[in-house]
């Protein structure tokens, strides 16, 4: 299922996104589990706040990483994957 630019992603209840200094990485914490995120996944989830839609997030990231070119596909692909993993909900 493709992610639409107007959809608003937010973390599922019980999921927490945070920076872990000891691991030098962003992680996603959930009941008795933890996913260590790579830099790009961390950068996307950092902007997920239940208010911004996918287009907003893409715009913010393209501003942060001006040399990366269009990020729409990467962001959509990751959010789609994150939804299938039940980390986030898209409304």
């Amino acid at each position: 299922m493709a992610v639409s630019l107007k959809q608003v992603p937010r973390l599922r209840p019980g999921f927490r996104f945070q920076w872990e200094p000891a691991q030098n990485t962003h992680v996603l914490l959930y009941p008795e589990g933890m996913v260590r995120l790579n830099d790009s996944a961390g950068a996307v989830l950092k902007e997920v706040n239940g208010q911004r839609n996918v287009a907003d997030i893409v715009a913010i990231l393209e501003q942060q990483f001006p040399d990366a070119g269009s990020l729409e596909n990467d962001v959509s692909e990751f959010l789609n994957d994150a939804e299938q993993q039940h980390w986030i909900m898209l409304t």
Binding site: A22, M34, N38
Partner: protein
């Protein structure tokens, strides 16, 4: 973008930080489940750590990189300082899990814990109906209380994880159990087939399902899972298969002293919650810092790496995958914790697993014949 990373490295080459801290706050518990993993002689445990001592443990663990924290026991709700410990843990940045029977919980506590920052409450059940549940738990009011608390947990907005320990007396209930969880709105359902440590090892013959019982249960879970996927349900079923029916051992705790650090009620630090039964001296948080315990203590270094391994593990090409299995199981079944876990078909002691399977095919013991986990029975074990 898959989003994953490899494991981090800690303060010593080859030793990662303890990412998972299990705080066993107490061995006291109102229930008497005969599969409890607590030590048989729990009743002789000396003084529990104080609030201040626990706070120190939490701070040291977090500083070392622990991110997941479990409050467990016994029944952690027995500790009056639980709200204080939750608040401290959350403020330190832990993801805090409360692992409870639900007994002693109230709606007010569920909400107070949430306000203190608790992330998740896991409620354990013993069966899908009151009669069997209460018989296994050794408590007449347990089931109704658990139902009420599961609803309160959901109501308060926590993610809901329901845990069932599965054994030969409830393994026929898989459909009913999962459907109960669905009605309660669970996010995760742990169907954990009994592992045989502590009281469960003592009661193994009366708990272990037969292979045909197990196969039926697995098929029921798989077909339920398909129905859930088809209906778009996000409820996840986690079926923990019993290693007694495997041919290769589990990678116990992901390796000795690799991720998990348990602190027992009296401050003993352990690489897993069963390791206390091993003839190894383990350090105590009252005497050493968590950092020196994790990285430098002989107890935690005892089974790190693979130089301790005898044959058949030593020359086995799977030793990096399963680390020779579980040290506690090797000790319980062979008398020597260095041995390969007898679950492995390459183990010279594998016949003990085969004998247990055979016994499970013919077992007839009823629930009333099990040894229930309570202080009176525990005293029998340390008086001998």
């Amino acid at each position: 973008m898959t989003g994953y990373h490899a494991m981090p490295s800690g303060d010593r080459p080859g030793i990662g930080p303890p990412l998972w801290l299990l705080a066993e706050l107490t061995y006291r518990c109102p229930l008497q489940c005969p599969y409890c993993s607590n030590p048989l002689d729990f009743a002789q445990t000396e003084q529990e750590l104080t609030t201040q001592e626990w706070v120190k443990v939490l701070r040291q663990g977090r500083e070392m990189g622990a991110a997941q924290l479990g409050f467990s026991g016994g029944e952690p709700l027995v500790r009056q300082d639980l709200p204080e410990l939750i608040a401290e843990a959350r403020q330190l940045g832990y993801y805090t899990n409360l692992i409870t029977s639900g007994l002693g919980l109230t709606e007010a506590k569920v909400n107070a814990f949430r306000d203190a920052g608790l992330d998740h409450i896991q409620v354990s059940f013993q069966a899908s109906d009151p009669e069997l549940n209460n018989a296994v738990a050794g408590s007449r009011k347990a089931f109704d209380q658990k139902l009420a608390m599961a609803r309160a947990v959901k109501e308060a907005g926590y993610p809901m994880v329901l845990n069932f320990v599965i054994h030969r007396h409830n393994i026929h209930q898989m459909d009913d159990i999962i459907s109960l969880c669905e009605r309660l709105g669970a996010d995760y359902v742990e169907l954990a087939t009994c592992q045989y440590y502590g009281w469960a090892f003592e009661n193994r013959e009366g708990l272990m399902p037969s292979r045909s019982q197990l196969e039926r249960a697995e098929a029921e879970v798989n077909s339920y899972r398909k129905r859930l996927t088809a209906s778009g349900s996000a409820m996840k079923l986690i079926f923990v298969t019993p290693d007694y029916y495997e041919e290769r051992p589990k990678a116990c705790m992901n390796g000795w002293g690799s991720l998990f650090l348990t602190v027992a009620p009296d401050g003993t630090a352990l690489p897993c919650h069963s390791a206390r039964l091993l003839p190894i001296e383990f350090p105590n948080v009252r005497e050493s810092s968590l950092h020196s315990i994790w990285y430098d203590s002989p107890g935690f270094n005892h089974y790190r790496g693979d130089s301790w391994m005898p044959e058949p593990c030593r020359s086995c090409d799977e030793k990096d995958k399963d680390f020779g299995g579980c040290r506690c199981q090797a000790y319980l079944l062979t008398g020597n914790a260095d041995n390969a876990d007898p679950v492995c078909s390459k183990s010279p002691h594998h016949d003990r697993i085969l004998a247990a399977r055979k016994a499970a095919d013919h077992a007839t013991a009823g629930l009333e014949e099990l040894t229930y986990r309570n202080a009176d029975n525990s005293r029998l074990f340390f008086r001998g």
